[in-house]
Amino acid sequence: MELNEQEKLLVSVIADGLPLVPRPFAEIGRFVSMDEDAVIRSLSNMVAGGIIKRFGLIVRHHELGYRANAMTVWDIPDDRVADIGRSFGQADCVTLCYRRPRRLPDWPYNLFCMVHGREREAVLEQIEQLARSMGLEDAPRDVLFSGRRFKQRGAHYDATPETLERTA
């Protein structure tokens, strides 16, 4: 899906957020010389085309009490990783699940799941259950909790890193 110049402008204008007024799409339209209908149609197309992954509220999970943010990583044989990744993705506790390259010798893991919770112990128990559910108790894995958060936003671009997915 290719965006035209007007749509690129629209993307840039709404990147920071929707105005809190009764008819926000009409208001946005005034900035980009589009009428309300055209703005709504264009945004609907972007959602349908996947350019906008989600349109809505974006929460700060720390502030909601989700302090235990566990990047759970596994070394899964390449011929099984897609099946296991899809299964992990079905689990309620998993918020993101990606396959990534190993970087040997420093990094032997190829499957990444984010598990967020309020307490570390509960998160570790969920991860243990996840492993058991797939018969992966003995698969090499590690759980990397996050410590300090150094940077949550950086702004420079039509869609700033802040407006993109949280974990690439």
């Binding site: 009764p22 989600r54 974006i58 990744g85 396959r99 984010m114 300090r148 150094f150 700033t160």
Partner: protein, 154 residues
């Protein structure tokens, strides 16, 4: 950086749980969304405004797909000597393309997202960070995406 847990009432929680996944693309979206929540559009706007200000929400709007926008996106990690951590974090965070930089418990102890305007720029930024820090940057772009829900029950 706010680290305290914010206070939300039942209506705030219902708003978060309802509107993370989507927001109506209609002429009067606040009024439409509010109807299901048992409040009116004005109150919904007031509550969203308050949650943006108290830090429960980071934004209210679109979350873009980097690659479909024509940009580059990756996850990167560095093994940073413990006593040099603050210094290296400062250097890495100077890069406008770096977002979501977290310390994590592992030999690879610094993890961050790189988001660039073009896919080619990812490798350039990695090289620039390596030069600036003198440390190896491990690039771990996604190969497959199995699930991206990222919703939080409030």
């Amino acid at each position: 950086m706010k680290q305290q847990t914010v206070t939300l009432d039942a209506t705030d929680r219902a708003i978060i749980n309802d509107l993370q996944g989507g927001f109506p693309l209609s002429e009067e979206p606040f009024a439409d969304a509010a109807r299901d929540l048992g409040i009116d559009g004005h109150e919904l706007m007031v509550r969203i405004d308050r949650m943006l200000k108290n830090g429960a929400l980071s934004r209210f709007g679109p979350m873009y797909h980097a690659e479909k926008m024509g940009g580059g996106l990756t996850l990167a990690a560095i093994k940073v000597p413990e006593d040099d951590f603050e210094n290296i974090a400062g250097i890495v965070n100077e890069f406008a393309e770096v977002a979501h930089n977290y310390a994590r418990d592992h030999a690879l102890n610094m993890w961050f997202v790189i988001a660039t305007e073009t896919p080619e720029r990812v490798d350039e930024v990695i090289s620039e960070i390596e030069v600036a820090t003198g440390l190896k940057v491990h690039n771990m772009p996604k190969i497959d995406e199995f699930f991206v829900g990222l919703r939080f029950e409030a």
